[in-house]
Subunit: 192 residues, 4 copies
C-alpha cells in the first residue's frame, strides 16, 4: 500500500489545523493602536501553536520520508495523531480567551502530551512492518527526546495549577528541543 | 483518465470535513474545570464523527488503491459520497447542541445511512469499468458488511424516537464493524 | 512548467469552496422536527451550489487532463476562475438568508456568469500554448455549450427582478446542460 | 529530501489562506441593493488580498520549480513565509471592518513587509544548498524587485498615519510590480 495518499491526507489535515488557528485572531474592536494590546498574548499563543504544529509536520515529513510501506494499523495510528493535533487550535483558543487560566493551560498541555504519545505509537506500527534493522528503526532508536518531552508535559500539567508560567516555560522548552528536525533521522540520511 | 486527482480532491474534502468539526468544539465560557463538563458529550460526538469520517477515508483509500481507471460517472458517484460526508459535521453539531434530541440523532443516522448508500454506488460504477473478474469486484463481493450497516441505520432512525441511546448504540456498532479496514480487500492484497 | 501543482492548488481551493458552504447550514434552533422546515430552502441552495462547484471541478479535471504545459498567464487565468468560484458560497448564503430575494438571486447569477466567462479565458490561454490543432483545441471547439450558458445567465440576471423563479429555473437549466462531463473531450478521448 | 510534500503542504496552506478570506465577506443584512454598498470596500479588500496571495503562490511555484532538493532550514524558512501569509486574512479583515483606519492599514503593510522579508530568506536557504552557480541563484540574482518592494512597504507603514491612501497606493504599486510572474526565472527558463 502506497504512502502517497497518507502523506497527502496528513498534509491536508495539518494545513487546515495550522490555518484555522488564525480564525481565532479576531479583528480588534477599537480602531486605534490600544486595540492591539490585548491581541499580544493571543498572537503569541498563535505563534507558539503554529511552531508546535510546524514541528509535527516537519517530523512527520522526515519519518514518512524513510518509510516504504504502510498498512491498516498505520493509517489509524496516523489518524490518532491527527486527532490530537486537531485539538491544538481549540485548546489554544481557550488559553487565549481565559487569559491563560490554569485549567486552560493544563488542558493545552494534556493535548500536547497525548500528541507526544501518539507519535511513538505511529513510529511503533511503522517499525513493525519495516523491521528492527530498518533505517527508520535505527533512526528512531530509543527516542530519548520523545520520552523527555512526555515527562516534561506530565510535569507541566499539575504545575500549571501552581503557576501557569512554569507550565508555559516547560512547553517552550519542549518546542526548543524539537525545533531542529529530528537529528537522528537527519544524521542517518547523511550517512547514505 | 487518471485517478490521482480524484484521490487528491477527495483527500482535500475529507481533510476539511474531519477538521471543521473541531470548530464546533467552542471555547468553554468559565475559566474553571466545571466549564469543561458540558464539553464532554460534545467531545464524544466529535470523537465518534472523527472515527466515522476516518473509516470512510481508510476504505476510500483501500478501494481506490486497487482501481486503475475512472470515468465521468465515477467522478459524480464520488462527489455524491462526499456530499453526504460533508453533512456529518452539521448534523453532529445539531446532536451536540440539542443535547442528543431524538430528531437530531435520527437526522444524524439518516446522513450516515445516505453515506452508506453512496458507498456501494461508487463501488458499482468502479466495478462497471473494471469488470466482474477484477480485483475490486472480487474484494467487494456481496458487500455483506455494507448491507448490514444500511439495515442497522434504517433500524436506528425510527428507534431514535423511542430512545436515542438505542440509536447511538447501533451507530457505534456499525463503526465497530468497519473500524478494521476492509478485510476483503486487505485479504485479497495478501494473496498477491 | 508542470501542471501538477496547478492541479493540486486548484483541488485544494475547490475542495475548500465546496466544503465551507456547509458552514452556512447552521444548527437549527428548536429541538423538534419543525426546526428543520426553514432549513429546506437552505439545504436545496447547498445542494445546487455543491453541484455547480462539482461541475466546475469535473470539467477542470477533464480540461487539465489533456493539457501538457502551462505558463504564467494560465496560472492567472486559473486564479481568476477560482476567484469567481470562491464567491459562490457567500452569494449562496445571501440567497439563503434573504429567502431568495431578487437582488440576492441576481447577484448569485452574476457570480455564475463571471465564472462562465473565466472558463473560456482559461481555455484560451491553454489553447494558445498548445496550438489550434491540439487535442484541447479540437475538444473545446466552438464552445457552444459555454456560450449558451453565458447567454442564459445574462438573461436570468434581469429576470430575477421580475420573478426569482424564472432566474432559478434558468440556473438549474444550465446545471443540467453541464451535469454530464464535457462530451466533446470525453468523445475525443474515446478515439484515442 | 524530496520537495513534493513541501509543495503539497504549501499548496494546502495557501489554498486555505486564499479561501478563508471569503468568510469575511459576510452576508449583507438588508435585502435590497443598498445593502451591497458597504460591501464594496470589503470586496475590493478581498480582491487585493486574493491577488497578493496569488502572487506569492505563483512565485512559490516558479521558485520551487527550479529547485532540486530541500533540507530542515528550508522547511522552516517556508513555514516562516506561510506564517506571515496566514496573517493576511485577519489584517485584511481589520482594514475592512475599521473602514481602512490608519492603524489597520499600517498593520496590513507590516504583515506584507514581513512576508516580503520571508521570501528572500527562503531563497537564501535554497541557494545555500544549490550553490551560487545554480539556476535558482542566477534567476534570483540581486533581487532588485524584492528590495524595492520592502522599501515601499517600509515607506507605506508610517505614511499610513499621514494618509491611508498613500499607503494603499504603495501596496497596489508593489502588487503591480509582482503581478507578472518573476521575469528573471521565466527568462532563465526560456534559455534552456
Amino acid at each position: 500500500m502506497g504512502k502517497t495518499r497518507l502523506e497527502a491526507f496528513s498534509d491536508g489535515v495539518i494545513a487546515i489545523i495550522i490555518t484555522i488557528m488564525v480564525l481565532e485572531l479576531k479583528v480588534p474592536h477599537g480602531e486605534d493602536a490600544h486595540a492591539l494590546l490585548p491581541m499580544i498574548p493571543i498572537f503569541l499563543g498563535y505563534v507558539f501553536s503554529f511552531i508546535m504544529v510546524g514541528i509535527y509536520w516537519n517530523n512527520h515529513h522526515h519519518m514518512l520520508h524513510i518509510v516504504h510501506k504502510i498498512n491498516g494499523p498505520v493509517l489509524w495510528a496516523n489518524l490518532h495523531l491527527l486527532f490530537w493535533l486537531s485539538l491544538i487550535p481549540v485548546t489554544t483558543a481557550w488559553m487565549q480567551e481565559s487569559h491563560f487560566a490554569s485549567q486552560a493551560v493544563a488542558l493545552y498541555g494534556f493535548v500536547l502530551f497525548m500528541a507526544s504519545v501518539a507519535w511513538p505509537i505511529l513510529a511503533h506500527f511503522l517499525i513493525k512492518i519495516h523491521g528492527n534493522q530498518s533505517e527508520l528503526a535505527i533512526a528512531f532508536g530509543e527516542d530519548r527526546k520523545g520520552k523527555i518531552s512526555m515527562l516534561m508535559y506530565l510535569l507541566a500539567i499539575p504545575l500549571a495549577f501552581l503557576n501557569v508560567w512554569i507550565a508555559i516555560v516547560l512547553y517552550i522548552a519542549v518546542a526548543v528541543i524539537w525545533f531542529i528536525p529530528d537529528q537522528r533521522i537527519e544524521k542517518n540520511l547523511h550517512h547514505e
